[in-house]
Amino acid sequence: MSEKNNSPRYTLGQRIFYFLGSMDLAITLLLALAVASIIGTVLQQNQPYTDYLIKFGPFWFEVFETAGLYDVYSALWFLAILCLLVLSTSVCVIRNTPTMLKDMWNLRTHVQEKSLQAMHHSQQWGVSSTLGDAVSNTQAELESQGFRVKQTPKEEGVVLISAMRGGMNRLGYVFTHLAIIVICLGGLLDSNLYLKLAEWQGKISVETRDLPTSKIPDKSRLAPGYQAFRGSIHIPEGRTSEVAFVAMRDGYLVQELPFKVKVKDFRIEHYATGQPKSFESDLVVYDDDLTAPLEQTISVNHPLIYKGYAIYQASFSDGGTGLTLDAWPLNKQAGNDTVTFETKVFENRKMHWGEDSVQLEVTAFRPFNINPDPTEDDVKRLRNFGPSFGFKLRSKTGEAKEYLNYMLPVPRNGRDFYLSGVRNSPADEFAYLYLPLDSDGELVGFNQFLSVLHDNDKVKQVAKTMMLETLASVKNNDETLEQNLQRTLTMLVKMFIRGGFVEVTEFIETSLPEAEKETLGPAYLSMLREMLARLYFNDLIEIDTTEQERDAQLLFLQDSVDAIGSFSRYGSPVYLELTDYQHVQASGLQIARSPGKPIVYFGCALLIIGVFVLFYLPQRRLWVRVNKENNGSNILLAGMSNRNPREFDQYFEQIAQQLKLKVGNSSVK
């Protein structure tokens, strides 16, 4: 669509003005905003930057970062589209409002007879009443139909009655579009734009390190003020805070509050089915302006609003639960005895298990684990797996494995186990270690078996017995063969407790001569199994057992062997058994100030009123031109509506009928 003749006559400013107010631009911007918004929903926003790096690789990570795709909605280009929309709408409103307002009031008294006749809705008829009667009757009838009416005497013997209903429709336009501007401006007040500006001017800088609050530099602190922010903070029960953390890109800022908040207590209530029913915190606000501290309980959907700061129940986490742990040694270096010690969630401490010291970092605690029950067919059947805690073991080199241990035993095939998950990175799934429990439901039995396997003398002893029995059947008294066999047997056990079946098979693959692999391999493995069984039963004191007990022992042996076989992958020198805990929770609060909120709400009200008026209050105009004739009057009725043409067809017809009825006996021309 080229408009050839507009170039010379308009100045550049005017042309820009018209461009901004054009419908084409409006539609383009609406759709552009829609498409831009999609990006932000497809790409999860405001995740840790390392996650993006892993997901996209270093090249695309940077491209996306430059494009602001990790926080689309505060990216400059997104704001630019939004501003352009506001600008365009403003221009539209500025340009159209004067005519619209005029249109609202103006009854159009200057319409010519010809144009009335030419209107799509137009009728003409004669009546016997006089001009004066016809005019006053018409006016009365139209007014009773809710029209605003005005008479204009025209040339001699002619009166034009102009009528309008629903002039407010035009106000609907103004309201709707004004609302968009108001909402966007209000929203802008509540956005983090001022933070970006301050950052750009170098007044503040985003902190990315994990520091104690007191150590965070001033440049990353925001003084209490009137600006908008949305921050969050986790406060353990019984503790107090006077700051909130505002997340920004890959770091945060500290927003100082003009008061202190204490979380006295945090509660979760559950339905009978185990699902959470409510999250509540008892808060106390301390402020010098208060005569007494303000106490209030907040819950989801019921925030506390104080001095324009709204405090919401957003989440919860651990507040440093105290844990009592038993460390069961899993290898020789870690010793033979269990050690009991205490620690806390989020506490890091050096542990000396064996040669190396490792750092134990307790990361999480959960008092309940309501999970689908794997033993039920119905996946929706839930079960409480009891408390669990998560921790990391960090070696000197800084590498860490992550663990998740359950406090209660978990049944599997009818036997009870302690469950411990392990993984190398958060991206992996947990692999589980199953430690079998003895008939008393404890780890003692397993630990005893493990000690036996580590006991060189006992292993040698059993190896000797087994060697003698084996060679007795072949009737052999070759010294070296005896020694070799005994050594092999002990070595197999050693290899097994070091690296499980994997190491044994590896040994078979790499060390045995090619020719003997086929025959010796399986033989080695069955000898190892025999050794393990002998070591186990050798150590059991009770001799006369029932068959049932015997079966149970065999299964226990099997489970123990399986568990020991996976130690090398488990990677921890000890198993940490949770024996007791003091649960301390932290309430996750969101603290926000949004000074733009009333403006936005006002805009929303405008918008709703505007849209409904625009759609459901049609502006209808009628003109009645009464013309004096010899024996009565001639009436010309014309009308138009700015929407719902179909309904207006009938409406016009009805009005015409009414007028014919009321204005005097008629003879339709």
């Binding site: 829609a34 932000g40 339905y271 959470p276 819950s299 959907n301 925030p303 936005v600 459901y616």
Partner: protein
């Protein structure tokens, strides 16, 4: 006055009927409030009054709607009465087991909607006004059963346990039923107003599709079980936000299906102007008009719903707008239809592209409604698949 097909039906009920109806609604509201004044809070009071006013307005010139409200009330009452305080009766009481228990009522609704779809299409293709009338009757019945089911389910949730009880608009399964009922109601309104039944099959097609999904969802995922509300949903805003949203979704879905009919007709008109579809479907201009009506209705209600959502978010999440995926997709839907409305006004585009756009709009809406729950995670993850 006889009314031609396609002409607006402005028929009004007699003043006696009108006043009787208004009086009945007033009486119902008074009885309800009087009886439960001790436990109603101010929000519930205003919702009660608001509902009564809406019903009075909708029904004053619409006999079909009046019948619907009365039948739904009677049947729901009967259902609640039958239950007493024993949820177990759902399986032993004949009336509950086969008709009134929410699951049974929903099954009836589903079957009737599918039958109605067939009836409408048969009526359209064989030019049989009677069969089309049957389609209308079936749609009314389906809608009635759906509504009764929702009412009874509301009660059932309280029978499970008082703290579990809630209005059945809280998860994906429940809102699917709401969607079917509301879309049918909107359609029936326009069917009467425009005196045309030939679009029924098209609109009912989208309802049948949602019914199919809802059945799959119930049988495959056991989604029909009543679940207690997570804390974020325990808010009076939910009661109005969700229905307002579904008036929007329903209207958009209807517009899209009229768009389909429009495209079919304009295509057949070119190829075979005397063919059944070309002659049986309403005028293009009328469908265009209806499409516009539906989209503006949807837009208005969607605006209200989004604002209500923002008010709720301000209370539950600490900010009226968080760019959560569901929120953002509501905005996308809204912007899309705003663009549609403006495009229509510039007149540059004639009916066909606008019809295509309305159809595409349904997919955008569908994504906002379902896709977000399926593919995107966010604060709004209440109904996952």
């Amino acid at each position: 006055m006889t009314i031609k097909s396609g002409m607006i039906n402005n028929e009004t009920s007699s003043p006696v009927d009108q006043w009787l109806w208004r009086g009945l609604m007033l009486l119902a509201a008074i009885v309800l409030i009087n009886r439960y004044i001790d436990i109603l809070d101010s929000y519930e009071l205003s919702i009660t009054v608001f509902t009564a006013v809406c019903l009075a307005l909708l029904g004053q010139n619409w006999p079909g709607f009046r019948r619907h409200v009365v039948v739904v009330s009677v049947l729901s009452f009967l259902g609640v009465q039958r239950y007493g305080s024993d949820l177990g009766l759902a399986e032993t009481d004949f009336l509950l087991n086969f008709i009134l228990a929410s699951q049974s009522a929903f099954m009836w609704m589903s079957a009737l909607f599918v039958m109605a779809t067939f009836a409408y299409f048969v009526g359209l293709l064989f030019r049989s006004p009677f069969t089309e009338k049957v389609g209308s009757a079936l749609t009314w019945s389906a809608m009635t059963m759906g509504m009764v089911g929702l009412m009874v389910r509301w009660r059932e949730s309280y029978l499970i346990s008082p703290d579990v009880g809630h209005i059945p608009v809280s998860n994906l399964y429940e809102v699917f039923i709401l969607f079917a009922v509301i879309t049918a109601l909107l359609y029936l309104y326009y069917e009467r107003r425009y005196q045309t039944r030939s679009l029924g099959g098209f609109v009912l097609l989208v309802i049948s599709a949602s019914v199919a999904f809802q059945l799959w969802y119930a049988f495959e995922k056991q989604a029909h079980e009543i679940q207690p509300l997570v804390p974020a949903l325990q808010s009076y805003w939910m009661k109005i936000h969700v229905p307002a949203n579904f008036v929007g979704y329903g209207a958009f879905a209807m517009a899209a299906m009229i768009g389909v009919a429009y495209l079919l007709k304009s295509w057949r008109q070119e190829i075979k102007p005397q063919g059944i579809l070309a002659t049986a479907l309403p005028d293009l201009s009328m469908m265009d008009d209806l499409m516009y009506k539906a989209i503006s209705l949807g837009f208005a209600f969607f605006t209200v719903a989004t604002v209500l959502g923002a008010l709720w978010a301000a209370e539950a999440w600490g900010g009226y707008w968080s760019w959560d995926p569901k929120e953002t997709w509501a905005l996308i839907v809204w912007l899309n239809y705003a663009a549609w409305l403006h495009m229509r006004m510039t007149k540059g585009w004639n009916g066909r592209p606008m019809a295509w756009w309305a159809v595409i709009g349904l997919f955008v809406t569908l994504f906002a409604f379902l896709g977000v729950n399926m593919f995107l995670s966010g604060l709004h993850s209440y109904g996952t698949l």
